[in-house]
């Protein structure tokens, strides 16, 4: 067959698309369950990281909390999983709350969204863990923030991203950046919810009451994304926290 003919070109293109398409589709479908299981384990691992569970005792030895260990420990430390609506009412519990996909929720109207909330108990201390999601410079960023039971002091954060530049915006996944958030306050001195801002040229040193942490050089827009994500997502949980009378809420 003449290789420069239109017919040959079309046939070649069609065969190529069918072969490549089916190989990729087969790979995607056959690997999906394993991939989803990995994602679920990682989510549990991240939630546990925010409340300081990064290593656990196993057979008398302290071992790092690896992904395969996450599920069993998630059950041990997480005492409650709920999903709220924007009025602060509980509309789902347990696995249904865990499986809420923030990526999809973010596209909905506020009054149709579900807001997942996790409660954890570690060494007698109670923590609230709120999932976050927003946009960085190139693509989505997300994470979890845990609050102590005054619903003001940050216990820990975990961030992740889809496509931020490695070494710049991608540094938000590193411990040295996330450690800056520990003990920061999310309410300002007059009781307004402001979240924790990532500030360029931060001069506050170790000040934990200024609602701000130092930014990453060369990653201004990713940092702004983190700032916005925290304040925006936390505001949705205010109605719920205000309703909880048994809670030591710093809300005015």
């Amino acid at each position: 067959m003449d290789k420069s003919s239109n017919a040959y070109t079309f046939i070649f293109a069609i065969i190529m698309v069918i072969v490549v398409g089916s190989v990729l589709a087969f790979a995607s479908i056959s690997l999906k369950d394993r991939q989803n299981a990995n994602v679920k384990q990682e989510k549990m691992q991240n939630i546990l990281y925010t409340v300081g569970v990064d290593s656990i005792e196993q057979n008398g030895e302290l071992v790092p909390l690896t992904r395969p260990l996450a599920e069993a420990n998630f059950k041990k430390y997480i005492t409650n999983q709920i999903a709220l609506n924007n009025k602060g009412e509980v509309i789902a519990e347990g696995d249904k709350a865990f499986n809420v996909d923030l990526a999809k929720e973010l596209g909905k109207d506020d009054n149709e969204q579900k807001f997942p909330l996790y409660e954890a108990e570690v060494d007698g201390e109670k923590y609230y863990i709120i999932p976050l999601r927003g946009t960085g410079l190139w693509d989505a960023i997300w994470g979890y923030i845990s609050l102590k039971d005054d619903v003001n002091t940050v216990k820990g954060v975990v961030f992740d991203h889809k496509g931020e530049t490695t070494g710049l915006g991608g540094e938000i996944t590193k411990a040295w950046f996330q450690e800056r958030f520990a003990d920061e306050k999310i309410f300002d001195s007059s009781g307004n919810l402001v979240g924790v801002s990532v500030v360029k040229g931060y001069g506050g040193g170790n000040n934990k009451d200024d609602n701000a942490v130092d930014a990453i050089s060369g990653a201004t827009i990713t940092g702004d994304g983190v700032t916005k994500m925290i304040s925006k997502r936390l505001k949705y949980y205010l109605p719920y926290f205000k309703q909880q009378t048994d809670m030591k809420v710093a809300v005015k």
Partner: protein, 249 residues
């Protein structure tokens, strides 16, 4: 007498056989796997025909991924795997590909390969795939991959294309590592994540090493323009040392 005759016949046959072998080998130019010519495919891209500094391909990812040494090395290895295999696949199909849609075919092969590897890693080596996920898009659009497919794999055999892929990826990786070394060292005072210049504390008193003397990191190093300038300096140094690259005035 009869036996002697037999002997001469035998030797005649052997001679013919030898001739045949000579003829075959001279026409096919059978090379050893690591002949001089093949080794050149590996070594040329490191200097005389470097993809970044001489062919000026792959500049975009050289800017994006050289803030840290570790990321640069991971990216180089990933590019090496993709280039070796995509070069081989295209070389295998080189007599079948219609020339009018060859660029599309190349793109499809590269993209399919990268996505397939990414999917498998996500299922079986999830933690590694998380580190590599950022690079996936950068590899698919890396002009070195496409450039070598177009310039080499379409006209050469499988083994040679494989070597060309490895060689060019190594040449690319070499420049990436050089640039990343300077950017990480001067930009964040670290190498491979370790604080080699000492620790920078909140105040001068908290700092150790160079930072205690008042040294500051150069934030400009972390931005893309400095990567371009470092690549420029590398080209300058290379051209002034390598006679082959000096252009006639």
């Amino acid at each position: 007498m009869a036996q002697e005759n037999n002997n001469t016949q035998m030797s005649e046959k052997e001679a013919k056989k030898k001739e045949m072998i000579l003829f075959l080998s001279s026409s096919e130019e059978k090379e050893s796997f690591l002949s001089k010519q093949n080794l050149k495919l590996l070594s040329d891209p490191l200097n005389d025909d470097n993809p970044i500094t001489v062919q000026v391909l792959g500049i975009c990812s050289a800017l994006a991924i050289t803030v840290q040494l570790q990321a640069a090395v991971v990216m180089s290895l990933a590019v090496m795997v993709v280039m070796a295999f995509s070069n081989m696949i295209i070389s295998l199909m080189r007599n079948l590909i219609p020339s009018r849609i060859r660029i599309i075919v190349q793109l499809v092969v590269v993209a399919a390969l990268v996505i397939l590897v990414d999917q498998v890693l996500k299922a079986f080596l999830y933690d590694l795939s998380k580190q590599l996920s950022v690079f996936v898009g950068l590899i698919i659009t890396n002009c070195i991959v496409m450039g070598r497919l177009e310039a080499f794999a379409l006209g050469n055999g499988i083994y040679k294309s494989f070597l060309d892929g490895i060689g060019n990826a190594a040449g690319y990786g070499l420049i990436l590592v050089i640039v990343a070394f300077f950017r990480e060292l001067l930009g964040s005072g670290k190498l491979w994540g370790f604080e080699v210049l000492g620790h920078k504390g909140a105040t001068l008193a908290d700092s150790t090493g160079l930072y205690a003397l008042g040294y500051e990191n150069n934030g400009l190093m972390l931005l893309a323009p400095m990567a371009l300038i470092i690549v420029g300096v590398v080209i300058w140094v290379q051209r002034s040392r390598n006679r082959k690259l000096i252009e006639e005035a």
